[in-house]
Protein backbone atom coordinates (compact mmCIF):
# COMPACT_ATOMS: atom_id res chain seq x y z
CA UNK A 1 0.00 0.00 0.00
CA UNK A 2 1.57 3.30 -1.00
CA UNK A 3 0.67 6.19 1.26
CA UNK A 4 -0.39 9.32 -0.56
CA UNK A 5 -1.38 11.51 2.37
CA UNK A 6 1.08 14.11 3.64
CA UNK A 7 1.14 14.39 7.44
CA UNK A 8 1.34 18.18 7.52
CA UNK A 9 -1.77 18.53 5.34
CA UNK A 10 -3.62 15.88 7.33
CA UNK A 11 -3.09 17.64 10.65
CA UNK A 12 -3.91 21.04 9.19
CA UNK A 13 -7.20 19.67 7.91
CA UNK A 14 -8.01 17.87 11.14
CA UNK A 15 -7.53 21.07 13.13
CA UNK A 16 -9.11 23.58 10.75
CA UNK A 17 -12.20 25.21 12.27
CA UNK A 18 -11.52 23.38 15.50
CA UNK A 19 -13.42 25.78 17.75
CA UNK A 20 -12.67 26.09 21.44
CA UNK A 21 -13.92 22.71 22.53
CA UNK A 22 -11.12 20.58 21.09
CA UNK A 23 -7.91 20.00 23.03
CA UNK A 24 -4.90 18.41 21.36
CA UNK A 25 -2.08 16.40 22.90
CA UNK A 26 0.75 15.96 20.41
CA UNK A 27 3.38 13.25 20.70
CA UNK A 28 7.02 14.25 20.51
CA UNK A 29 8.78 14.75 17.22
CA UNK A 30 7.08 15.19 13.88
CA UNK A 31 3.57 15.06 15.29
CA UNK A 32 4.32 18.01 17.57
CA UNK A 33 5.79 19.90 14.60
CA UNK A 34 2.65 19.16 12.59
CA UNK A 35 0.39 20.47 15.34
CA UNK A 36 2.56 23.58 15.73
CA UNK A 37 2.44 24.13 11.96
CA UNK A 38 -1.36 24.00 12.08
CA UNK A 39 -1.24 27.38 13.77
CA UNK A 40 -0.90 26.87 17.48
CA UNK A 41 -3.75 27.06 19.98
CA UNK A 42 -3.82 27.48 23.77
CA UNK A 43 -5.41 24.03 24.02
CA UNK A 44 -2.43 22.36 22.32
CA UNK A 45 -0.09 20.38 24.53
CA UNK A 46 2.98 19.48 22.48
CA UNK A 47 5.44 17.04 23.98
CA UNK A 48 9.21 17.17 23.65
CA UNK A 49 9.72 13.96 25.61
CA UNK A 50 7.67 11.53 27.73
CA UNK A 51 7.64 9.12 24.79
CA UNK A 52 4.74 6.69 25.13
CA UNK A 53 2.75 9.04 27.34
CA UNK A 54 0.65 11.08 24.91
CA UNK A 55 -2.42 8.83 24.90
CA UNK A 56 -2.48 8.64 28.70
CA UNK A 57 -2.19 12.41 29.09
CA UNK A 58 -5.21 12.48 26.80
CA UNK A 59 -7.06 9.98 28.98
CA UNK A 60 -6.51 11.92 32.20
CA UNK A 61 -7.62 15.10 30.46
CA UNK A 62 -10.67 13.48 28.85
CA UNK A 63 -11.85 12.13 32.21
CA UNK A 64 -11.31 15.50 33.88
CA UNK A 65 -13.21 17.45 31.19
CA UNK A 66 -16.06 15.40 29.75
CA UNK A 67 -17.43 18.45 27.93
CA UNK A 68 -14.14 18.89 26.05
CA UNK A 69 -13.17 16.82 23.03
CA UNK A 70 -9.63 15.49 23.26
CA UNK A 71 -7.52 14.41 20.29
CA UNK A 72 -4.15 12.78 20.79
CA UNK A 73 -2.10 13.20 17.61
CA UNK A 74 1.03 11.12 17.61
CA UNK A 75 3.34 8.92 15.59
CA UNK A 76 3.53 5.16 15.27
CA UNK A 77 6.75 4.98 17.28
CA UNK A 78 5.31 6.97 20.17
CA UNK A 79 2.10 4.95 20.15
CA UNK A 80 4.00 1.67 20.08
CA UNK A 81 6.07 2.66 23.11
CA UNK A 82 2.88 3.10 25.11
CA UNK A 83 0.80 0.38 23.49
CA UNK A 84 -0.55 -0.75 26.86
CA UNK A 85 -2.34 2.59 27.03
CA UNK A 86 -4.70 1.30 24.35
CA UNK A 87 -5.79 -1.43 26.78
CA UNK A 88 -6.22 1.10 29.59
CA UNK A 89 -8.25 3.46 27.39
CA UNK A 90 -10.27 0.61 25.90
CA UNK A 91 -11.24 -0.46 29.41
CA UNK A 92 -12.31 3.05 30.35
CA UNK A 93 -13.99 3.99 27.04
CA UNK A 94 -14.10 7.79 27.29
CA UNK A 95 -16.54 9.04 24.63
CA UNK A 96 -14.61 12.31 24.18
CA UNK A 97 -11.19 10.86 23.36
CA UNK A 98 -9.73 10.07 19.94
CA UNK A 99 -6.24 8.72 19.30
CA UNK A 100 -4.87 9.63 15.87
CA UNK A 101 -1.67 7.91 14.83
CA UNK A 102 0.18 9.41 11.88
CA UNK A 103 1.68 6.17 10.66
CA UNK A 104 4.68 6.32 8.36
CA UNK A 105 5.92 2.96 9.63
CA UNK A 106 9.29 4.34 10.64
CA UNK A 107 11.23 6.27 13.25
CA UNK A 108 11.63 9.57 11.43
CA UNK A 109 13.64 11.45 14.04
CA UNK A 110 16.40 8.90 14.29
CA UNK A 111 17.24 7.97 10.72
CA UNK A 112 14.15 6.34 9.34
CA UNK A 113 14.48 2.88 10.86
CA UNK A 114 11.47 0.63 10.25
CA UNK A 115 8.95 0.58 13.10
CA UNK A 116 6.77 -2.34 14.14
CA UNK A 117 3.80 -1.05 12.16
CA UNK A 118 5.89 -1.72 9.06
CA UNK A 119 6.92 -5.09 10.42
CA UNK A 120 3.48 -6.54 11.06
CA UNK A 121 1.82 -4.79 14.00
CA UNK A 122 -1.68 -3.61 13.12
CA UNK A 123 -2.54 -0.84 15.58
CA UNK A 124 -6.08 -0.53 14.20
CA UNK A 125 -6.70 -4.16 15.11
CA UNK A 126 -5.03 -3.68 18.49
CA UNK A 127 -7.28 -0.74 19.39
CA UNK A 128 -10.37 -2.62 18.23
CA UNK A 129 -9.36 -5.65 20.28
CA UNK A 130 -8.87 -3.39 23.31
CA UNK A 131 -12.49 -2.25 23.15
CA UNK A 132 -12.39 1.13 21.40
CA UNK A 133 -15.83 2.18 20.16
CA UNK A 134 -14.40 2.59 16.68
CA UNK A 135 -11.03 1.97 15.08
CA UNK A 136 -10.07 2.35 11.46
CA UNK A 137 -7.35 3.09 8.96
CA UNK A 138 -7.45 6.32 6.97
CA UNK A 139 -5.78 6.31 3.57
CA UNK A 140 -7.42 9.04 1.54
CA UNK A 141 -8.79 12.57 1.58
CA UNK A 142 -12.37 11.47 2.20
CA UNK A 143 -11.21 9.54 5.23
CA UNK A 144 -9.40 12.60 6.61
CA UNK A 145 -12.54 14.71 6.20
CA UNK A 146 -14.64 12.12 8.00
CA UNK A 147 -12.07 11.87 10.79
CA UNK A 148 -12.06 15.66 11.25
CA UNK A 149 -15.77 15.51 11.95
CA UNK A 150 -15.41 12.60 14.32
CA UNK A 151 -12.88 14.39 16.55
CA UNK A 152 -15.73 16.43 17.98
CA UNK A 153 -18.55 13.93 17.67
CA UNK A 154 -18.25 12.32 21.10
CA UNK A 155 -18.62 8.78 19.81
CA UNK A 156 -15.36 7.39 21.15
CA UNK A 157 -13.15 6.19 22.43
CA UNK A 158 -11.92 6.31 18.85
CA UNK A 159 -8.73 5.26 17.13
CA UNK A 160 -7.50 6.17 13.68
CA UNK A 161 -4.27 5.22 11.99
CA UNK A 162 -3.63 7.62 9.15
CA UNK A 163 -1.21 6.22 6.59
CA UNK A 164 1.12 9.05 5.70
CA UNK A 165 4.09 9.59 3.43
CA UNK A 166 7.54 9.18 4.96
CA UNK A 167 8.66 12.37 3.26
CA UNK A 168 10.34 14.81 5.64
CA UNK A 169 8.82 18.25 5.92
CA UNK A 170 10.12 21.48 7.38
CA UNK A 171 10.28 21.54 11.15
CA UNK A 172 7.95 23.98 12.85
CA UNK A 173 8.93 23.89 16.49
CA UNK A 174 6.41 24.36 19.28
CA UNK A 175 7.48 26.11 22.48
CA UNK A 176 9.81 24.05 24.64
CA UNK A 177 8.92 25.56 28.01
CA UNK A 178 6.65 22.93 29.53
CA UNK A 179 5.59 25.07 32.47
CA UNK A 180 4.52 27.90 30.20
CA UNK A 181 2.60 25.52 27.95
CA UNK A 182 0.84 23.91 30.92
CA UNK A 183 -0.15 27.26 32.39
CA UNK A 184 -1.39 28.55 29.05
CA UNK A 185 -3.46 25.42 28.55
CA UNK A 186 -5.01 25.66 32.01
CA UNK A 187 -5.68 29.38 31.62
CA UNK A 188 -7.62 28.64 28.43
CA UNK A 189 -9.88 26.43 30.54
CA UNK A 190 -10.27 29.12 33.17
CA UNK A 191 -8.00 27.35 35.64
CA UNK A 192 -5.43 29.07 37.88
CA UNK A 193 -1.72 28.75 37.14
CA UNK A 194 1.03 26.36 38.16
Amino acid sequence: MSAVLERRDVVRRLLADRGDDLAVVAGLGSSAYDVAAAGGHPLDFCLWGAMGGAAMIGLGLAIARPELHVAVITGDGEALMGMGALATIGARKPANLTIVVLDNALYGETGGQASHTGLGTDLVAVAAACGFAWSRRVTDEAGVAALAGQLRAGGGAGFASVSVSAREVQRVLPGRDGVEMKNRFRAALGLPGF
Partner: protein, 176 residues
Amino acid sequence: MSAADAVIPWQDALFETLRAADIRQFAYVPDAGHAHVIRRAHATDGIAAYPLTTEEEGVASVSGAWLGGQRAVLLMQSSGVGNCINMLSLVQSCRFPLLALITMRGEWAEFNPWQVPMSRATQGTLELMGVDVRRVDQPALVVPEVEAAIEDVFTGGNAVAVLLGQRLIGRKRWVK
Protein backbone atom coordinates in the same frame (compact mmCIF):
# COMPACT_ATOMS: atom_id res chain seq x y z
CA MET B 1 -11.19 -13.85 53.20
CA SER B 2 -7.89 -13.28 51.48
CA ALA B 3 -5.27 -10.81 52.63
CA ALA B 4 -6.37 -8.45 49.89
CA ASP B 5 -9.91 -8.40 51.29
CA ALA B 6 -8.97 -7.68 54.88
CA VAL B 7 -9.45 -4.04 55.81
CA ILE B 8 -6.74 -2.47 57.90
CA PRO B 9 -8.19 0.62 59.66
CA TRP B 10 -5.65 3.10 58.27
CA GLN B 11 -6.65 2.14 54.75
CA ASP B 12 -10.20 3.35 55.24
CA ALA B 13 -8.97 6.58 56.83
CA LEU B 14 -6.57 7.00 53.92
CA PHE B 15 -9.38 6.78 51.40
CA GLU B 16 -11.45 9.30 53.35
CA THR B 17 -8.47 11.65 53.40
CA LEU B 18 -8.07 11.43 49.63
CA ARG B 19 -11.78 11.91 49.05
CA ALA B 20 -11.91 14.90 51.38
CA ALA B 21 -9.09 16.46 49.34
CA ASP B 22 -11.29 16.27 46.22
CA ILE B 23 -9.07 13.77 44.43
CA ARG B 24 -11.13 12.61 41.46
CA GLN B 25 -8.91 10.18 39.60
CA PHE B 26 -7.29 7.08 41.07
CA ALA B 27 -4.83 5.56 38.58
CA TYR B 28 -3.37 2.32 39.84
CA VAL B 29 -1.43 -0.84 39.37
CA PRO B 30 -2.89 -3.03 42.09
CA ASP B 31 -1.22 -4.05 45.30
CA ALA B 32 -2.73 -5.84 48.27
CA GLY B 33 -1.89 -2.82 50.42
CA HIS B 34 -3.94 -0.59 48.14
CA ALA B 35 -6.80 -3.03 47.62
CA HIS B 36 -9.25 -1.39 50.00
CA VAL B 37 -8.63 2.13 48.69
CA ILE B 38 -9.06 0.88 45.13
CA ARG B 39 -12.30 -0.87 46.05
CA ARG B 40 -13.71 2.23 47.70
CA ALA B 41 -12.62 4.48 44.84
CA HIS B 42 -14.46 2.28 42.35
CA ALA B 43 -17.56 2.38 44.54
CA THR B 44 -17.65 6.17 44.91
CA ASP B 45 -19.65 8.41 42.58
CA GLY B 46 -17.62 11.23 41.09
CA ILE B 47 -14.35 9.33 41.29
CA ALA B 48 -12.78 7.69 38.23
CA ALA B 49 -10.67 4.71 39.25
CA TYR B 50 -8.80 2.88 36.52
CA PRO B 51 -6.18 0.16 36.28
CA LEU B 52 -2.98 0.76 34.33
CA THR B 53 -0.98 -1.80 32.40
CA THR B 54 2.23 -0.18 33.67
CA GLU B 55 2.89 2.51 36.24
CA GLU B 56 4.34 5.06 33.82
CA GLU B 57 0.90 5.33 32.21
CA GLY B 58 -0.30 6.81 35.47
CA VAL B 59 2.42 9.45 35.60
CA ALA B 60 1.05 10.66 32.26
CA SER B 61 -2.64 10.36 33.12
CA VAL B 62 -2.46 12.21 36.43
CA SER B 63 -0.63 15.00 34.58
CA GLY B 64 -3.44 15.06 32.02
CA ALA B 65 -5.96 15.24 34.85
CA TRP B 66 -4.22 18.33 36.20
CA LEU B 67 -4.23 19.92 32.76
CA GLY B 68 -8.00 19.56 32.88
CA GLY B 69 -8.32 20.85 36.43
CA GLN B 70 -8.74 17.63 38.40
CA ARG B 71 -6.66 16.27 41.24
CA ALA B 72 -5.47 12.70 40.81
CA VAL B 73 -3.44 10.16 42.72
CA LEU B 74 -1.17 7.37 41.47
CA LEU B 75 -1.13 4.11 43.42
CA MET B 76 1.52 1.46 42.92
CA GLN B 77 3.91 -0.83 44.71
CA SER B 78 7.64 -0.23 44.95
CA SER B 79 8.48 -2.54 42.06
CA GLY B 80 6.63 -0.15 39.74
CA VAL B 81 8.77 2.88 40.49
CA GLY B 82 11.46 1.80 38.06
CA ASN B 83 8.89 1.71 35.28
CA CYS B 84 8.24 5.43 35.74
CA ILE B 85 11.70 6.89 35.37
CA ASN B 86 11.61 8.60 31.97
CA MET B 87 7.93 9.54 32.26
CA LEU B 88 8.80 11.53 35.39
CA SER B 89 10.60 13.95 33.06
CA LEU B 90 7.09 15.09 32.10
CA VAL B 91 6.38 16.01 35.71
CA GLN B 92 9.70 17.77 36.10
CA SER B 93 9.71 19.60 32.75
CA CYS B 94 6.18 20.92 33.15
CA ARG B 95 6.23 21.08 36.95
CA PHE B 96 3.07 19.01 37.24
CA PRO B 97 1.91 18.30 40.76
CA LEU B 98 2.29 14.57 41.45
CA LEU B 99 0.94 12.57 44.37
CA ALA B 100 2.08 8.94 44.40
CA LEU B 101 1.29 6.47 47.16
CA ILE B 102 3.65 3.53 47.04
CA THR B 103 3.33 0.37 49.07
CA MET B 104 6.70 -1.17 49.81
CA ARG B 105 7.67 -4.73 49.05
CA GLY B 106 11.01 -6.37 49.51
CA GLU B 107 12.03 -4.68 52.76
CA TRP B 108 10.44 -6.50 55.72
CA ALA B 109 9.33 -10.12 56.14
CA GLU B 110 9.64 -10.54 52.39
CA PHE B 111 9.28 -14.04 51.02
CA ASN B 112 10.13 -13.12 47.43
CA PRO B 113 13.77 -12.16 46.89
CA TRP B 114 12.99 -10.73 43.44
CA GLN B 115 11.22 -7.83 45.16
CA VAL B 116 14.37 -6.73 46.96
CA PRO B 117 16.46 -4.98 44.28
CA MET B 118 13.79 -2.49 43.24
CA SER B 119 12.78 -2.01 46.86
CA ARG B 120 16.31 -0.90 47.71
CA ALA B 121 16.33 1.46 44.72
CA THR B 122 12.84 2.93 45.20
CA GLN B 123 13.67 6.04 47.21
CA GLY B 124 16.83 6.83 45.25
CA THR B 125 15.10 6.41 41.92
CA LEU B 126 12.33 8.82 42.84
CA GLU B 127 14.76 11.37 44.23
CA LEU B 128 16.95 11.17 41.13
CA MET B 129 13.91 12.15 39.08
CA GLY B 130 12.96 15.10 41.28
CA VAL B 131 10.25 13.50 43.40
CA ASP B 132 10.26 14.23 47.16
CA VAL B 133 10.00 11.06 49.22
CA ARG B 134 8.31 10.58 52.60
CA ARG B 135 8.04 7.32 54.52
CA VAL B 136 5.39 6.04 56.88
CA ASP B 137 5.83 2.97 59.06
CA GLN B 138 3.30 3.64 61.80
CA PRO B 139 -0.43 3.37 61.16
CA ALA B 140 -1.23 6.51 63.15
CA LEU B 141 1.00 8.59 60.89
CA VAL B 142 -0.49 7.56 57.53
CA VAL B 143 -3.22 10.19 57.47
CA PRO B 144 -1.12 13.13 58.73
CA GLU B 145 1.67 12.32 56.27
CA VAL B 146 -0.72 12.02 53.35
CA GLU B 147 -2.53 15.21 54.37
CA ALA B 148 0.79 17.04 54.39
CA ALA B 149 1.70 15.56 51.01
CA ILE B 150 -1.65 16.65 49.54
CA GLU B 151 -0.92 20.20 50.67
CA ASP B 152 2.60 20.13 49.24
CA VAL B 153 1.41 18.69 45.93
CA PHE B 154 -1.79 20.49 45.09
CA THR B 155 -1.18 23.78 46.87
CA GLY B 156 2.61 23.88 46.65
CA GLY B 157 2.90 22.38 43.19
CA ASN B 158 5.42 19.67 44.10
CA ALA B 159 5.92 16.04 43.21
CA VAL B 160 5.69 13.86 46.32
CA ALA B 161 5.76 10.11 46.84
CA VAL B 162 4.64 8.66 50.16
CA LEU B 163 6.17 5.25 50.79
CA LEU B 164 3.92 3.03 52.88
CA GLY B 165 6.29 0.69 54.70
CA GLN B 166 5.83 -3.05 54.48
CA ARG B 167 5.32 -3.20 58.25
CA LEU B 168 2.04 -1.37 57.72
CA ILE B 169 0.75 -4.11 55.48
CA GLY B 170 2.02 -7.03 57.53
CA ARG B 171 3.32 -10.39 56.47
CA LYS B 172 2.10 -11.77 53.21
CA ARG B 173 0.73 -15.29 53.58
CA TRP B 174 2.18 -17.41 50.82
CA VAL B 175 0.59 -20.72 51.72
CA LYS B 176 -3.17 -20.58 51.98
